[in-house]
Amino acid sequence: MSTLPQPNHAPHAHSGLKVSRIMATVMLALTPATLFGFALFGWPSILLWLVTVGSCMVLEVACLRLAGRGGPKTLWDGSALLAGWLLAMTLPPFAPWWIGVVGAFATIVVAKHAYGGLGQNPFNPAMVGRVALLISFPLPMTTWVQPSPLFAASSPSLIDSLHIVFSGTPVPDALTSATVLGHVKAEATRGIDALQAVLGLQMDGSGLGWHAGSLGETGTLLILAGGLFLLARRIITWHIPASLLAGLALPAAIGHAVAPEQFLSAGAHLTAGAAMLGAFFIATDLVTSPATSAGRLIFGFGCGLLTWVIRTFAGFPEGLAFAVLLMNAGVPLIDRYTRPRIYGHGQPAKAS
């Protein structure tokens, strides 16, 4: 045998881990919470999800074509689908179609491809999409609805839903409602303290998600289950979720202990809003989070703390998206100052 294949550098084996498999696993983890959200909010949420995810895919293809990097493999790595999915999880379920399209544009074109595509973006694309929408279109982005289960008599039918999503028919007043955090914030401006505000809310089953909000805010327990699944599959590490939840819960607990009428409890902070989605699915975005364990702890804690600060003191009821984007900006710095000690450096040779 004289002709052997072209020599190749070691290693001559691979674990089989692929980008597309990572993305698929994350989507699998998102599925239960998404299906729960679909059941809870019915056809409009399904339609909006389809529009958002579809727009992301179309824009991804367009951007790859423009960059001359087309090809099915790059599209089917699933990163665009996942970014669109995560964005859709944070939208009001009855929002009109163009919210999904504009959000997809900000997510895929502005946040991802303007920086050079997959792996190059410093900011979490889905959060850029959400923040762009929230600042530009505050009204549709804060029109929340009560749960209106699929096939329930009071819920909009498929035809009604098509009207709501595509032809701007206003959401029936009877359905509109506020999120837990939105309600507390609004009550605070009327001088009603947090304790009363929470009591005034029908909180039964709120941990189970039976309240107004985005898909990502409602199925909290399912989101948590999906996050634990990702941990078990080693797609993410524990550092960011643990430190983010700690960064949110610690100041909340202290504040609540000192002045319960002014500060929401840690439990409310953790179960309301996008805390779980943020901790397990958003802040853990591989591209935009630090590469070192120590860096991830700092990053997660910062996200949690900023979320609490924004929720408590700023004008927005929910601040996770802002917190994540702010911390994203610090990732290169965090990575630089948390480089692990290299073997054989800076330690006496004889330890024992």
């Binding site: 045998m1 004289s2 052997l4 294949p5 020599p7 190749n8 550098h9 070691a10 290693p11 001559h12 084996a13 691979h14 674990s15 089989g16 881990l17 692929k18 980008v19 498999r21 990572i22 790059t74 790595d77 990163s79 595509g117 997959l118 792996g119 190059q120 590490t237 591989l286 591209v287 935009t288 989070s289 590469a291 070192t292 364990s293 990575d335 480089r339 692990p340 000690r341 290299i342 073997y343 054989g344 450096h345 330690q347 040779a349 004889k350 330890a351 024992s352």
Partner: protein, 512 residues
């Protein structure tokens, strides 16, 4: 950090925060009895099978030699002799494709076996432990023993170093963490007594009191055999370690067995330890107890393309093709043929290349085993490479620097600490050939360093030349000035004399 290997087994795994678990593919080959390769018709013995200077031939073409006879002697401080792998005739001293990815030719001696396989007369010492340590080292050196785990560093040089700096612990590497390979496993199962004897001889040669033998816990039979063989010798401690690649890397094994780290700018001896592979220890036993030089070794012939994978005892110099043929050849065209293991081994350019002292395995891997060979995608910063790196490096950041043609940036991040284990490439979901990047950048850095040295020496020469020219010009000018001054002085003297003469004449005239 404490020595992980001294802690309870259930704790060990969780304390080792690096490495990967490739499918080990070691069985059933590891459980099959070892077979001996029949003598091939020709053996190709490279003069360089070790780190250091190539050996210098001491026999001529046409000479008849006996098994174990010296063919080429050690040619420098760091070098190793080469011996005849069987009895026969030296038919040529020529060049032949090296077992290296380049397949470039290297000097070899071609030995045609006479089929008798007759040994030289050996006179092993009655009690080697009565000999001075340096004498044991000399015997190891004369036997041409080199690191048999693949590093091929002359063992006697290491023993001498260990004796000189008084290392405390001899680390014996029975990790064999590379997938497929089971030659060390087999050696420990079949020749535990010889290995333990070699370990004790090495301890004697370096004057150390304790040997720690690290064996991955996926080799329970080898651990049991070694424990039994080492039972009478409390100075030899058999320490099972978690099966985790790259456990068999010197630096990692030292860390796990002793808690010490080799300083980045030093050697294992600086951490008070010396590392020898179990195969090397067995070769030391053969050399000192039996007076037999290193002329054969155990080679794992395996991989999905091999029909009858086996552990084979092969004479040094047998071709890879001869070993594959003995294993009934290849069932399918291999995607890669590797010498060594799949994680760090070198692809062969041709199967005509010979087995050398450092050849632990010959693998013919199918496409399926190698992976799909996908094109590299963009880095998604998943940091899998960071979590597996046994040196605590940031492969993704080093790769980013290298991609933007900045090997110095990668150097700042610890490029030269990279041991090339390949864990990062193995896990990368984007199939980025990180190990390849790092090899390339290390080469680029070395080339830069050489270029810098060269330009510095040119600068020095130029400066020296300018200085010399200046000096010469100055000296010339000075000499010219001196000559001129002398001429003028002479002229002045002559004039003065003339004046004096005139004056004298004038005086005379006056007097007259």
């Amino acid at each position: 950090m404490p020595a992980v290997a001294t802690l309870p087994a259930w704790l060990q795994r969780s304390l080792i925060r690096w490495g990967v678990h490739p499918d080990d593919h070691k069985r059933p080959v590891a459980d099959l009895p070892v077979e001996r390769l029949p003598l091939p018709s020709r053996l190709f013995l490279p003069l360089q099978q070790h780190v250091g200077a190539p050996a210098r031939p001491v026999v001529k073409i046409g000479d008849h030699v006996l098994k174990g006879q010296l063919l080429a002697e050690s040619a420098a401080n760091i070098s190793a002799p080469v011996h005849a792998s069987t009895s026969g005739r030296i038919v040529d001293i020529t060049t032949y494709p090296a077992p290296h990815p380049s397949g470039l030719e290297q000097p070899v001696m071609v030995l045609e076996p006479d089929g008798k396989d007759r040994w030289i007369d050996t006179a092993p010492p009655a009690d080697p432990f009565a000999l001075p340590p340096t004498e044991v080292g000399r015997m190891v050196s004369a036997a041409g023993v080199v690191g048999m785990g693949g590093a091929t560093f002359p063992s006697a040089v290491k023993l001498a170093l260990g004796l000189r700096v008084q290392v405390e612990i001899l680390i014996v590497n029975g990790g064999e963490c590379e997938p497929y390979l089971s030659c060390d496993d087999r050696l420990m199962r079949d020749h535990a007594a010889g290995v333990v004897d070699g370990i004790r001889l090495a301890l004697h040669a370096i004057g150390a009191q304790e040997a720690r033998v690290g064996i991955e816990n996926n080799k329970p039979e080898a651990i049991a055999a070694m424990q039994q063989a080492a039972a009478p010798f409390p100075e030899v401690r058999i320490m099972p370690v978690p099966a985790q690649y790259p456990m068999g890397s010197d630096k990692q094994l030292i860390q796990v067995l002793t808690g010490r780290e080799v300083p980045f700018d030093g050697r294992a001896a600086d951490a008070g330890v010396l590392v020898h592979n179990v195969g090397t220890c067995h070769a030391i036993h053969q050399a000192v107890r039996l007076g037999r030089p290193l002329v054969e070794r155990l080679v794992t012939v395996s991989g999905g393309a091999v029909r009858r994978p086996r552990n084979v005892v092969a004479p040094i110099g047998a071709t890879a093709q001869a070993l594959f043929d003995y294993c009934d050849g290849l069932a399918s065209a291999p995607a890669r043929v590797i010498m060594g293991g799949p994680m760090m081994g070198n692809p062969l350019a041709t199967t005509a290349s010979p087995v050398i002292k450092g050849t632990s395995g010959l693998l013919a891997l199918t496409q399926e085993e190698v992976g799909e060979g996908e094109r590299a995608g963009p880095c998604i910063r998943c940091a899998s490479c960071v979590s597996v790196c046994p040196m605590n490096l940031l492969p993704l950041e080093m790769a980013a620097h290298i991609r933007s043609d900045d090997p110095d940036g990668a150097f700042q991040l610890g490029l030269n600490d990279c041991i090339g284990c390949g864990c990062c490439s193995y896990v990368c979901p984007s199939a980025i050939p990180l190990s390849h990047y790092f090899s390339y950048a290390k080469g680029a850095l070395a080339a830069n360093e050489r270029a810098k040295l060269k330009s510095e020496s040119i600068k020095k020469l130029t400066t020296a030349r300018l200085e010399r020219q200046e000096r010469e010009a100055r000296e010339k000018a000075e000499a010219a000035a001196r000559r001129k001054a002398e001429r003028e002085a002479a002229k002045a003297r002559a004039a003065a004399q003339a004046n004096a003469a005139t004056a004298k004449a004038a005086t005379a005239d006056v007097n007259a």
